[in-house]
């Protein structure tokens, strides 16, 4: 027994404050699941209220951390696996707020569809934790774990409408294609690990900065980069890896769709920015052309295919592909040497879009009526007479998605196009502007259906569109934010500029 090694084990110092938002949400989700399973059904809206109450301490701590980063600068915590910088924190705040909004908008939806229970809310919160880990992962293993936590919860949410065959189909398609994409991403990580000997983003960035490759030594690195981009492209729904999006968005329960479009996109883009700008900035000349192609293809195909759809959820799915293309324009700009506009503009776009899209899909979930099946254009006919306020809210959202001035959508689109033009990517900027005009047709089609279409026979027999208080609250908050950020964008632009200093 003489050779027993009793020396202390190296233990990374743990910055508890930095992970408190995740711990609070995780604890809350588990309590919600266990207590919810053991007690009879809670009174109306109480599950949603509990979820919102849960997000408040998380949000407060995120604000505290935001201030701390301002004073002490960005840090990598817990053995350098989590980056606490303003990119991560802005994503955390966006994800937390979107989770609260989606939970509120789900409340009456789940009641109407007789799916009320704690499970959906717990899934939202667990997915949000995955998204937060993903957005701040400074280590590829954590990135993969966060991505899968987010994705697996989203598969469940997509399939969660037990009586709709479309929902189950959407869950199955999302699951198979999502797993397929994760495998590509993971293979990319494996090859990057093989080429650089590390799975830490900062270490990889420093290694690649110093390393000089000769005679195709970097074949494994390039293969890894390509596979990684395929995997990330799937997750952010960029053309040509977008084909799952319309089916999944259309079939999934509408609040789950809004969750995917806001939280899912925010987290995936945050990690894409971090991977490309922290681990692979010295290979920017290799990945920038790929992003360029994906950006142009996404804005063009997203806009054109959206216009020819007849189902509003499907239209919005294609429009979300177009929005992903716009965000990719910012990512492409960030790949130019010395650029300071790309990262802030894509982050600003994500922040504004994630609130906007939750509001839009909340209106769609109300109009879809019992059964969640009425999402074609005809379902919106006469909405201005039946529910003028709701139609007005939807109009604001649609104007914002089209990028009209005075709304947040204009600020967002202006930012990325300016970033592209500043970096002399004029082709991208011009294509993006043309595509946004084409996409405006799609938003106009929905508006015409709401405001101008004449009632047809049989419309009287349709179920009336009910507007419960919680959903009205979500729509009001989203409209207020969309207009406020459109008129006074300065503070948000400053916040996104602060995100420029990353953990390296």
């Amino acid at each position: 027994m003489n050779n027993v090694d009793n020396s202390p084990i190296d233990w990374p110092s743990i910055d508890w404050l930095a992970i408190t938002p995740m711990i609070v949400l995780l604890g809350g989700a588990l309590v919600l699941l266990v207590v919810g399973a053991l007690t009879p059904r809670w009174p109306r809206s109480l599950y949603a209220l509990a979820t919102v109450v849960l997000t408040i301490p998380a949000l407060v701590i995120e604000m505290v951390l935001w201030n701390r980063v301002g004073h002490e600068g960005p840090v990598a915590v817990i053995g350098d696996v989590l980056a606490v910088d303003r990119l991560a924190l802005l994503a955390w705040i966006g994800i937390t707020v979107a989770t609260a909004l989606v939970a509120l908008s789900s409340s009456e939806y789940l009641r109407r569809e007789q799916l009320d229970g704690p499970e959906s809310y717990a899934m939202y919160v667990l997915a949000a934790i995955g998204g937060m880990a993903l957005a701040s992962a400074n280590e590829f293993v954590v990135l993969f774990l966060g991505l899968e936590t987010l994705s697996i919860a989203l598969y469940v949410l997509a399939a969660s409408h037990r009586r709709r065959v479309e929902s189950q189909e959407s869950g199955l398609k999302y699951f198979v294609l999502g797993g397929f994409a994760s495998a590509f991403l993971l293979y990319g990580i494996a090859l990057l690990y093989g080429a650089t000997g590390t799975t830490n983003l900062s270490t990889m960035g420093r290694f690649l900065e110093a390393e000089v490759f000769v005679n195709g030594d970097d074949a494994m690195l390039l293969a890894g980069l390509a596979l990684l981009l395929v995997g990330l492209g799937f997750k952010v729904a960029a053309v040509p890896f977008h084909f799952w999006t319309p089916d999944v968005y259309q079939g999934a329960p509408t609040p789950a769709t809004s969750f995917m479009a806001s939280v899912g996109k925010f987290a995936a883009f945050a990690t894409m920015l971090r991977v490309l700008l922290v681990a692979l900035p010295s290979r920017a000349d290799d990945w920038r052309p790929v992003i360029w192609v994906m950006a142009i293809a996404s804005v063009v195909i997203g806009s054109i295919l959206a216009v020819v759809q007849t189902d509003v959820k499907r239209m919005l799915a294609y429009s979300s592909i177009g929005h992903a293309g716009f965000i990719l324009i910012g990512v492409e700009a960030a790949g130019h040497a010395g650029d300071t506009d790309g990262l802030p503009s894509s982050l600003l776009y994500l922040t504004l879009y994630s609130v906007l899209v939750v509001g839009t899909f909340t209106v769609v979930s109300l109009v879809s009526r019992t059964g969640d099946g009425h999402t074609d254009l005809a379902a919106f006919r006469g909405l201005s007479k039946e529910r003028p306020a709701l139609a007005l809210g939807m109009t604001v959202f649609l104007f914002a998605q089209a990028g009209m001035p005075v709304t947040s959508g204009f600020v967002a689109k202006f930012g990325v196009i300016k970033a592209a033009a500043d970096n002399r990517s004029y082709a991208v900027a011009i294509v993006a502007m043309i595509a946004s005009v084409v996409a405006a047709v799609l938003y106009l089609r929905i508006m015409i259906s709401m405001w101008l279409s004449d009632a047809e026979s049989g419309d009287d027999q349709r179920e009336k569109v009910a507007v419960p208080f919680t959903s009205a609250l979500v729509v009001t908050v989203s409209v207020a934010f969309t207009l406020f950020a459109g008129i006074f964008p300065g503070w948000l632009i400053d916040a996104s500029r602060d995100a420029l200093v990353l953990v390296r």
Binding site: A183, F184, Q250
Partner: protein, 108 residues
Amino acid sequence: MSALLAAATPTTTWYLILAAVLFGIGAVGVLVRRNPLVMFMCVELMLNAVNLSFVALAKRLGDIGGQTTVFFVMVVAAAEVVVGLGIIVSIMRRRPGATADDITALKG
């Protein structure tokens, strides 16, 4: 024949090539097979091909990091099985014997 085999010492490159082949088989399988269960098995094959790459690369680099990553991947794959089988069972209960070609309520 035995002399030939004796002369060839397996290197990590062999395992990397095997992993790439397995990954390719899995990827093609997802694209061409029509049974949701088999498609799902092909995804698992892809993940395990990546695991093999991780282990081979860790051996080549003399680094323990790649081998520990494999455990994380295995845990995630197990969690995915739970959710995936749940979804497949709930579809099959409604439509026994459905293939991916039958599941076409969504299109446009």
